[in-house]
């Protein structure tokens, strides 16, 4: 999932993380929901992030920025969820798993427009930092300065990464289809 900070490392008890949870859970949930388009997935991700925090399954780093860490964890888990969905596309071709595929699809709620899913599938193939920047920009409406501040990077670097990520995503998009918005 990533790393977490020394500050969080010192608060890994339930009572210790409660304050952190209350301060940042909206960021995590909003990120997860924005990416996955699924309330169930977002709920799972929210719980998983803080459960792993509780269990100390993460390794501390020196950035000491809990908000950035939790956001990163939320993005990574959300993108993992997106990637896992690809499995279902794959197993569709295997006869022995075809029935399973139907069951899975039937139980899944709608996850947004086709374009939304395609874009996030493409984002899932970017590096984590580029994905973080895109999501901050378009899900959280952060400015470049705010993104730079949260991630601890320079504004110019954020701008470059944002530009390049957009250019890369553009290649993943299919030509506009009739009847699609």
């Amino acid at each position: 999932v990533g790393t977490y900070t020394e500050e969080l490392m010192s608060t890994v008890t339930l009572s210790g993380i409660e304050e952190t949870f209350r301060e940042h859970y909206q960021l995590v949930y909003r990120t997860a929901y924005g990416v996955t388009g699924s309330r169930e997935d977002a709920q799972d991700i929210l719980q998983t992030v803080f459960l792993r925090l509780l269990r100390r399954e993460l390794v501390p780093d020196s950035t000491n920025n809990p908000r950035a860490f939790l956001y990163r964890a939320a993005v990574n888990l959300s993108l993992n969820t997106i990637r896992d969905r690809k499995r279902y596309v794959f197993v569709e071709g295997l006869e022995e798993l075809a029935e399973f595929e139907k069951i899975v699809d039937a139980s899944e709620p709608p996850r947004g427009s086709d374009l939304h899913q395609r874009l996030y599938a493409a984002i899932a193939e970017l590096d984590s930092e580029s994905a973080q920047i895109l999501i901050l920009r378009y899900v959280h409406d952060y400015t470049i300065a705010e993104i730079a501040d949260l991630l601890g990077k320079s504004r110019s670097l954020i701008a470059v990464r944002l530009f390049r990520s957009r250019a890369r995503l553009k290649k993943f998009l299919p030509a506009p289809q009739k009847g699609k918005s």
Partner: protein
């Protein structure tokens, strides 16, 4: 803002932000539910941290890598021929868990202990013996010494002035001082690396063949695995799934053994000629292959810039390649023989006045400034957001900050170089301040870059890796004889003829390549190098899934 940006930005805002609005009550409910969940699991809390497992395959120069297929094709009988003068002294000394002892000719030696043992020759050359190996020393006709390996694996590190020959089966490598070669033991069941699920089906006959497809006998292949871009829709690869549509067996084997990337990417030699043999259907019949990659195998690279497929085609996804190898062995009963051929190469050494580039901390780059000559228009068919860039023709020694909106090409190139690939394959000549380059933003190396030079900027690269990256551009193997250890940063380029769309340009002469490297104090000489070739000895059509 330009129309391109406006429409793209709008699309992103609408699509990526489709679920950004969350009612406050839903948010509160989610928080309360999560907190309740955490409370219920607080008792499960364990202070033990999960161990992070980092699997980073070591980068080994292809020249001395013994691929798995070689070990599979024949039982290990590896011989290391040492120069005559070594044989005249005590043959060798073995150091293992029992200490150090001298080894005599003819003695069957099995190093003791779980760790590897070291066989030291009198001149300092070393042979690292894997635990549970078995070997003996033999005199050979020319007076040298042969190390016959009956079991296990070895790594030979040459330290002699002359050369050491390492032979495995019918294949022989020549090692010079400082070079090393490692054998690979025969595949054992516990080393089997395979896909979780595999489906192989005959492809529908009605679909047209790929653009590079060949029919006929066993002399060549489709070429698609080595292409920088796969045929549209034929190959899909993500962290859990590999799907190759209409693949010939030749293509699958090419992926598995990695001839595409083994020579540094593609064009050093005729890549199709490097994998031959097999019945005619190997190149004509096509298969749809779907495979599920095990979740824990982590076979794909961390650098998404290079792309999953690019890494596979470049032979830098060793686990995934082994999975494909297992697939063709088990489903197609493929047996591949490896051969070596000696071909012309370039050897790079340090010139008499030493190198002229900086230490590993140097982070220089071409400085470039935006420019838009009066009347300049993007080429026909090009992206309208193209921006010409004028090189100032000098290295600034630091990374310049540019507004990415105004200078998108150069900043994208910079970001690419700074963050990892460390090579910029297009650009203005270092000595040509007037050169103008253009390219589609986000496409690097840009397929349609029109420049006066092929330029490389290496940032903190090992010298051997930097030279390896130039191989496709000089169409020869480039041997690193500089002796430079650690990482270096430098830039070189050579002049291109006028740009021709779609034409790949490479330095065509020793003089051209030499002139480029003179800038940084390196010399180039013609030499020879062993190149890997593969022959499909056996293949069977697969039974049903």
């Amino acid at each position: 803002m330009k129309p391109f940006e406006t429409s793209t930005e709008k699309t992103f805002r609408q699509s990526l932000g489709e679920f950004k609005t969350i009612p406050p009550e839903e948010m509160e409910s989610a928080g309360a539910q999560a907190l309740k969940y955490l409370e219920s699991h607080a008792g499960d809390y364990s202070a033990e941290k999960a161990d992070a497992v980092i699997d980073q395959p070591s980068r080994v120069s292809w020249r001395f890598r013994w691929p798995a297929v070689a070990a599979i094709a024949a039982a290990i009988t590896l011989a290391v021929f040492l120069p005559t003068r070594i044989a005249q002294s005590a043959p060798a000394t073995l150091e293992d868990a029992n200490g150090t002892r001298k080894i005599q000719y003819g003695e069957i030696v099995r190093p003791i202990g779980d760790k590897s043992a070291t066989l030291s020759m009198s001149d300092g050359s070393r042979v690292e013996m894997q635990s549970q190996s078995e070997f003996s020393l033999e005199r050979v006709e020319d007076g040298g010494t042969r190390i016959r390996l009956n079991r296990g694996a070895v790594t030979v590190v040459a330290a002699v002035t002359g050369e050491i020959r390492v032979q495995q089966g019918t294949t022989e490598l020549k090692l010079r001082a400082g070079e090393q070669a490692a054998s690979v033991p025969a595949t054992t069941p516990k080393e089997r690396i395979a896909f979780e699920e595999v489906s192989v089906r005959p492809a529908a006959p009605s679909a047209p063949p790929g653009p590079n497809a060949r029919g006929g006998g066993g002399g060549g292949g489709g070429g698609a695995p080595c292409s920088a871009s796969p045929p549209e829709g034929r190959i899909q690869l993500d962290p859990r799934r590999l799907y190759i549509r209409r693949a010939t067996l030749w293509e699958l084997v090419a992926f598995a053994i990695g001839p595409c990337g083994g020579m540094g990417g593609d064009v050093v030699t005729d890549r199709d000629a490097r994998l031959t043999g097999g019945p005619a259907w190997v190149n004509s019949e096509r298969w749809d292959v779907e495979a599920l990659i095990p979740e824990s195998s982590d076979p794909l690279p961390a650098d998404p810039l290079k792309g999953y497929f690019g890494e596979l085609a470049a032979g830098r996804s060793p686990k995934l390649q082994k999975m494909i190898l297992t697939l063709v062995e088990e489903r197609f009963k493929v047996v591949v023989r490896r051969e070596m051929k000696e071909l012309p190469a370039y050897a790079v050494t340090v010139g008499p006045n030493g190198t002229k580039f900086q230490s590993k901390d140097w982070v220089g780059y071409l400085q470039a400034v935006p420019t838009q000559p009066p009347g300049w228009k993007p080429p026909a068919g090009a992206d309208p957001s193209l921006m010409p860039v004028r090189s100032t023709g000098r290295i600034t020694g630091r990374i310049e900050a540019f507004d990415p909106v105004d200078v998108r090409v150069i900043t994208a190139a910079m970001a690419q170089g700074v963050q990892g690939s460390s090579v910029w394959e297009s650009g203005a000549c270092l000595d040509d301040p007037g050169a103008i380059a253009w390219g589609n933003p986000g496409e690097f190396p840009a397929p349609n870059v029109r420049t006066s030079c092929t330029s490389f900027v290496f940032l903190n690269e090992p010298m051997s890796e930097a030279l390896r990256r130039m191989q496709p551009y000089v169409r020869r193997e480039v041997i690193d004889r500089t002796g430079i250890q650690g990482r270096v940063s430098f830039a070189v380029d050579w002049v291109k003829p006028p740009y021709v769309p779609g034409q790949f340009y490479a330095a065509k002469s020793l003089q051209e390549f030499s002139k480029a490297l003179e800038r940084v104090g390196l010399q180039v000489k013609e030499d020879k190098a062993l190149v890997e070739y593969y022959v499909i000895e056996r293949a069977e059509k697969p039974a049903g899934n």
